[in-house]
Symmetry: C2
Subunit: 201 residues, 2 copies
């Protein structure tokens, strides 16, 4: 039955892949993470559990693929940071949006699930860095380098460190629920970063 | 049998509590967190599973109690930060020790387990903040206030933000395994924090 491997087969396979990933995102958003099972994902996607296992070895792997697919859809377009020539204004815009995103309940559950997986799985942490975190960081560094060129950021600033100082406090505050993620807080992280790395002419 | 509730009973109860907490810390250090079960903890502690359930409702609760007990043992003594009068030197000492602690494999597993629990359980996150994180932060703030008094730190610096800028990058780098936790890195976090909040006379 070689026609089974033709274009129809490929389309069916891709449709089932998309259904599984969408079901995963929906369930992880709706339920406490530890309660999401491969059985429930299969039922929601309308496929057999074996169809999932043929492609992914574990729940972690499907959840990770579901998140990765989101950024594939975006096609790299939404990744670029605004560049109006005013670093402070651009970063405040981005950090306010980031703070808002982290307080969205459906985003919250999805990203907690992802963080649980990568915190406990070193191999997945590496895959996360290579496929999701680093491309995002590279896009942010493009904006920082542009600021370095016009003298709004120290030319010799370590850009990995700049991004950590900008984002890690917000990430930790969100993960540990240790304080409010307000626009004022977002602004203060930009102010701190610019005091630490900004060009003090 | 009222004598069952006498001093012998209390001592036995306390011994079994200590055995359960020690068994929990040992297992969480040795095994992947999701593989640690209440059955295994009970077996290791030499008690029945019901003895655990009578006191704690879930694995999360026992793990959290096991970590909390560690800081009770320390009796608040190891919490105070050094104060030689040189803020930069004191913070570098502390941050280098912190970076080293985070690279210790047995600490690593325990703290990953804790972070997994608090990331996914809002009530536990609050308990963690009140019983573990805030007392530690308060001890650190004592050192920062002393620096403010002698003009080594801005008098109006938001000390929560100072601590986030100092620690959150290291925490995130550790959690996501996104870079090395070296002494140089520890020093650079102190330098950044002092540039952002230090008194520039």
């Amino acid at each position: 039955m070689s026609h089974e491997k033709g274009p129809d087969h490929s389309r069916r396979k891709e449709r089932s892949r998309q259904a599984i990933l969408a079901a995963t995102r929906a369930l992880v958003t709706e339920e406490a993470y530890e309660k999401v099972t491969l059985e429930a994902i299969a039922a929601r996607a309308g496929v057999g559990k074996q169809t999932i296992y043929r492609r992914w070895p574990s729940k972690s792997a499907v959840v990770f693929a579901a998140l990765l697919a989101l950024s594939e859809d975006a096609d790299g377009q939404s990744v670029a940071l605004p560049d109006t020539g005013d670093l402070e204004a651009d970063l405040k815009l981005v950090m306010r949006a980031t703070a808002e995103e982290f307080t969205d309940p459906s985003f919250d559950r999805l990203i907690r699930a992802l963080n649980t997986e990568i915190a406990n799985d070193a191999a997945l942490a590496i895959e996360y860095r290579e496929k999701l975190a680093q491309p995002l960081e590279e896009a942010k560094k493009v904006r920082l380098r542009s600021a370095q060129k016009v003298g709004q950021l120290d030319a010799d600033a370590d850009l990995d460190l700049v991004l950590e100082v900008l984002y890690a406090p917000l990430f930790q505050r969100w993960l540990h629920r240790s304080g409010p993620l307000t626009a004022t807080y977002a602004d203060s992280l930009v102010d701190v970063t610019l005091r630490a790395f900004g060009k003090t002419a």
